[in-house]
């Protein structure tokens, strides 16, 4: 189920479940004879993870991750350089998948060595940093599908990550985006493609809710991506003939939805054979298009065609076939069946093993994470994080760069809702997941240029005419729901005109040039030229922004243990670190200065009071100087106003005294109490933390303390003032409770606290006298 962002619970709020009126497992419908579960279980039942389906392992249905009783024993028999038996099947009984793998997929020169190597030793070589990547790939080429499945099932969980770091083809990790919307709106597609390209995605995959719109989507994404960054590959995922046609016209530059399946029945149901797919693979290459195949656990199970085999074994067949037909790469890791894999024990381990399988066969890995596999934020993070940490050729085979509801592939495991989370994860671990921060102003410029360029091309070529208002809405839109009503027929007719008019990338380039977008035209021309050498047809190839090809040929992974392999270079690391939410002391100083008021001027040196109703409010050194707003958002003068009012309500008089020799709240409070005629003081730090002190207590003791500064309300400050007065009079205070919060209060405020305390510390002068501040203007 997809939850629109606007309806999703805010952090820390009550978390109502979508569809929570629906009974959850075990909660509302007790089994006959059983009692209603206790509140603890009912509470647990209400958590989001319980919206997910969990299947009992069932090898008969293929609902088993790593090993099924139905999986064959690994084995290979050759005669005169021909495979006559593979994984327990004689050549006369080979199905079409076996037959293709047996003829083309194995290196018989190493088969004897690979097949006789004990599984644990094979697995050790897969993992060990001392065994080079090339050696693992050489060995794997001689291993049958059942052998590799058996070996991968031996890897411990962390070893999967270690092996992935070593075995992925390209040294530099990368990422792919989905860019789609419910309306196929070209201006929004262009703006969102520019956005995805600017965020750092090196491949953009689009698709359509309405098939006939496809040519328009391809053109819009082509233009938008070129505006956002140079060298981004574009895919329009539709049925094969149309997809190939768009590629032939130069409008798209890669394809990846060439599906392979692990059983002959399901393969045939998909209306293909290994030979038709092999031919199609060559057809794409013949038109200069990069191409990878798509497979992954669960597809056969969903078609009731798993034939009692484990997910990993069936995928081992797919990957062996991918290599055999000469594809350069594989998109796997569940893909559409990711939730099926995730429903069985060990399912996530299986998904990661699939990616590793492709790497062991020397293929590009486009590592899944492209289908929302759980309603639980924790489970979907748990699914993705190990791959991001290990690094893959593409850590997502489609990060939903648009909102969940606009993703016409279905929501991805991470979406626009999660981009800031992902950027923070990159920064937390110092890893390169392919993305970067785009400054807000820059993003607005790029979106505007993309939408305007797209509009200009559509108008120039007579495809469609969009209004200024439509452009403005597309630039600002966070999703297609922000566009209001649009003319979807105009899109269809534009797409029809592109297809029937035989428009090619040259027409798009000419139109851009003639409508004033020469630089964008030049970029597309440069990319078109760069593709012609075919360097990007090599394994795991992407273009960088200088149009250099990074692939196993030009940028081979050289991980060989600690201190080796890819590590972000300093400029890239700086980019990863510089998320837009990061704040330094100077940012905070400016924020505080904006709240400054002409109040709290020093009026005299602080003197001891004589009146028994005199209560001193001691404040920290930067109050009235650099610190004007407390963590609750109240200004410091407002906080002081409430404290003074509380004192007055109980018949006491307050004075405000700034202590200049310490930032410690206990010492400030105690010093205030010692100045006060009543012997009672209130300590207040500029950030809002406050306490009541008495002249005879130890510095670290106090009578009342408000420690959770961000959550203190005006009423609570007033109560603190009143209670201080009651202490002064010897009366009974009305106990105040620290406000309760379930928010990640420290995560939110600790960086601000550090900066605020730095501002305070900067005003500390050892031995500097305290000074009384003006109360004028404090309400």
């Amino acid at each position: 189920m997809t939850v629109p962002a606007s309806e999703r619970p805010l952090p820390g709020s009550e978390r109502p479940l979508p569809g929570s009126e629906r009974p959850l497992p075990g909660s509302e419908r007790p089994l006959p004879g059983s009692e209603r579960p206790v509140g603890r279980i009912r509470f647990m039942d209400r958590q989001r993870v319980n919206l997910d389906g969990f299947a009992v392992e069932d090898p008969g249905l293929g609902l088993v991750a790593l090993r099924s009783p139905g999986d064959p024993e690994p084995g290979l028999v050759t005669r005169d350089g021909r495979v006559v038996e593979m994984d327990g099947v004689g050549e006369d009984d080979f199905d079409s998948i076996d037959a293709f793998i047996a003829r083309h997929g194995l290196d018989l020169g190493v088969a004897g060595e690979a097949m006789s190597l004990p599984g644990a030793e094979f697995a050790r070589r897969v993992v060990s940093p001392d065994v080079p990547r090339d050696e693992v790939i050489r060995l794997s080429a001689g291993a049958t599908p059942a052998k590799l499945a058996r070996v991968l099932a031996l890897l411990r969980r962390a070893e999967l990550g270690l092996a992935m770091s070593k075995l992925r083809g390209r040294r530099t990790p990368s990422n792919q985006a989905h860019v789609t919307n419910r309306l196929d709106d070209p201006l929004l597609l262009a703006a969102d493609s520019a956005t995805a390209a600017a965020f750092g995605f090196r491949e953009i995959e689009t698709t359509v809710p309405v098939l006939a719109d496809a040519p328009s989507n391809a053109v819009a994404c082509l233009i938008g991506a070129a505006v956002g960054a140079q060298g981004v590959l574009i895919q329009c995922s539709v049925e094969e003939a149309l997809e190939l046609e768009l590629g032939m016209r130069g409008l798209t530059s890669y394809a990846e939805t060439i599906s392979l399946y692990g059983t002959e029945q399901v393969f045939t149901d998909g209306d293909d054979t290994p030979w038709s797919k092999a031919f199609l693979t060559s057809a794409y290459a013949s038109r200069g298009m990069k191409m990878r195949v798509s497979s992954g656990a669960g597809a056969e199970v969903l078609m009731a065609g798993a034939e009692g085999k484990s997910m990993l074994y069936l995928e081992a067949r797919c990957v062996a076939l991918a290599r055999a037909i000469g594809a350069q790469g594989v998109q796997n890791g569940g893909i559409d069946g990711a939730s099926v894999a995730a429903s069985v024990p060990g399912g996530l381990r299986e998904l990661m093993a699939e990616n590793l399988m492709a790497m062991m066969r020397g293929l590009e890995s486009c590592s899944g994470n492209d289908a929302l596999m759980s309603e639980s934020d924790m489970r979907r993070t748990s699914r993705t994080l190990p791959i991001v940490l290990a690094g893959s050729d593409f850590v997502f085979s489609g990060f939903g760069s648009i909102q969940r509801y606009d993703n016409m592939f279905g929501p991805s495991n991470f979406n626009a809702e999660d981009i800031d989370d992902f950027l923070a994860m990159q920064r937390d671990w110092g890893i390169d997941g392919g993305l970067r921060t785009v400054p807000a102003g820059r993003l607005a410029e790029l979106r505007r240029e993309a939408a305007q360029a797209c509009r200009a091309v559509y108008r120039h070529l007579g495809l469609a005419d969009f209004t200024d208002e439509h452009v403005a809405l597309a630039v600002d839109a966070a999703g297609s729901k922000d566009l209001g009503e649009t003319d979807t027929l105009a899109v269809l007719s534009a797409a029809h005109a592109i297809r029937e008019g035989g428009l090619t990338v040259l027409d798009i380039v000419a139109a851009l040039d003639e409508t004033g977008y020469e630089a964008v035209a030049e970029k597309i021309m440069d990319m078109t030229r760069a593709r012609l050498s075919g360097d990007y047809l090599q394994t795991a190839a992407i273009f960088d922004e200088s149009l250099r090809v990074l692939s196993v040929v030009t940028d081979p992974n050289d991980y060989a243990g600690p201190g080796t392999g890819y590590e972000p270079a300093p400029p890239r690391q700086a980019e990863i670190n510089a998320i837009r939410q990061a704040r330094g002391v100077e940012d905070l100083r400016a924020e505080q200065a904006s709240a400054a008021l002409p109040l709290l001027a020093p009026v005299s040196p602080a003197a001891p009071g004589q009146d028994p109703r005199d209560v001193v409010i001691g404040v920290s050194p930067a109050v009235g100087r650099d610190v004007w707003r407390s963590l609750s958002g109240l200004t410091v003068p407002d906080v002081l106003g409430e404290l003074l009012a509380g004192l007055e309500e109980e018949g006491c008089a307050g004075r405000v005294v700034r202590f200049n020799d310490t930032v410690d709240l206990g010492r400030i409070g105690l010093a205030a109490a010692r100045l006060a005629g009543s012997g009672i003081g209130i300590g207040l730090q500029g950030k809002g933390t406050a306490l009541i002190h008495r002249r005879d207590l130890a510095p670290l003791a106090n009578l009342e303390l408000y420690s959770v500064a961000p959550a203190i309300t005006p009423g609570l400050y007033r109560l603190l003032g009143a209670n201080a007065a009651r202490h002064a009079k010897g009366g009974t205070p009305d106990p105040a409770r620290n406000p309760y919060t379930d928010e990640a209060i420290e995560a939110r405020y600790h960086t601000t606290v550090i900066a605020l305390m730095a501002l305070e510390r900067a005003w500390v002068r050892a031995g500097a006298p305290a000074e009384e501040l003006s109360r004028e203007g404090l309400q």
Binding site: G250, T268, T273, L506, P571
Partner: protein
């Protein structure tokens, strides 16, 4: 990712500088594929299509990097550059399950071999044999 940050030392195997010796399918050198040429209306799709020599060169690179299957695919692709789009799609269609008798596939293979596409022909012949055995013929 950001530009080339973190990709040192890749110049060695990056191949010739852009365009050196590379032609479009039409034979036009890539250095002539400029915006200026677009303005003059000189370019057509054949100028932008990959040349079989480029595919052959990539096949040799793939072979040298230990992937003979990718090399084989690129060599079949080089052969297919001479066929029109419709014909390519028609052969694909013929290879889908239940579309063609074994004889039709072998006939098609023979004509491809005759026209200088021996690798594609071999693929079709193999399909004919396996399809007959596995009931995938039409």
């Amino acid at each position: 990712m950001s530009g080339a940050a973190g990709v040192p030392g890749m110049a060695g195997e990056a191949g010739p500088p852009e365009g050196a010796g590379v032609h479009g399918l039409s034979g036009r050198p890539v250095s002539e594929l400029t915006l200026e040429a677009v303005r003059r209306g000189e370019l057509g799709l054949p100028d932008l299509r990959i040349h079989p020599d480029s595919l052959e060169r990539q096949a040799a690179v793939a072979q040298a990097h230990g992937n003979p299957q990718l090399a084989g695919n690129l060599r079949r692709a080089a052969e297919l550059t001479v066929l029109g789009d419709d014909e390519v799609l028609a052969i694909y269609e013929a290879l889908r399950p239940g579309r063609s008798s074994p004889q039709r596939l072998t006939t098609l293979a023979a004509s491809l071999a005759e026209r200088g596409l021996p690798r594609c022909a071999a693929l079709l012949n193999e399909a004919a044999e396996v399809y007959a055995r596995r009931g995938l013929s039409g």
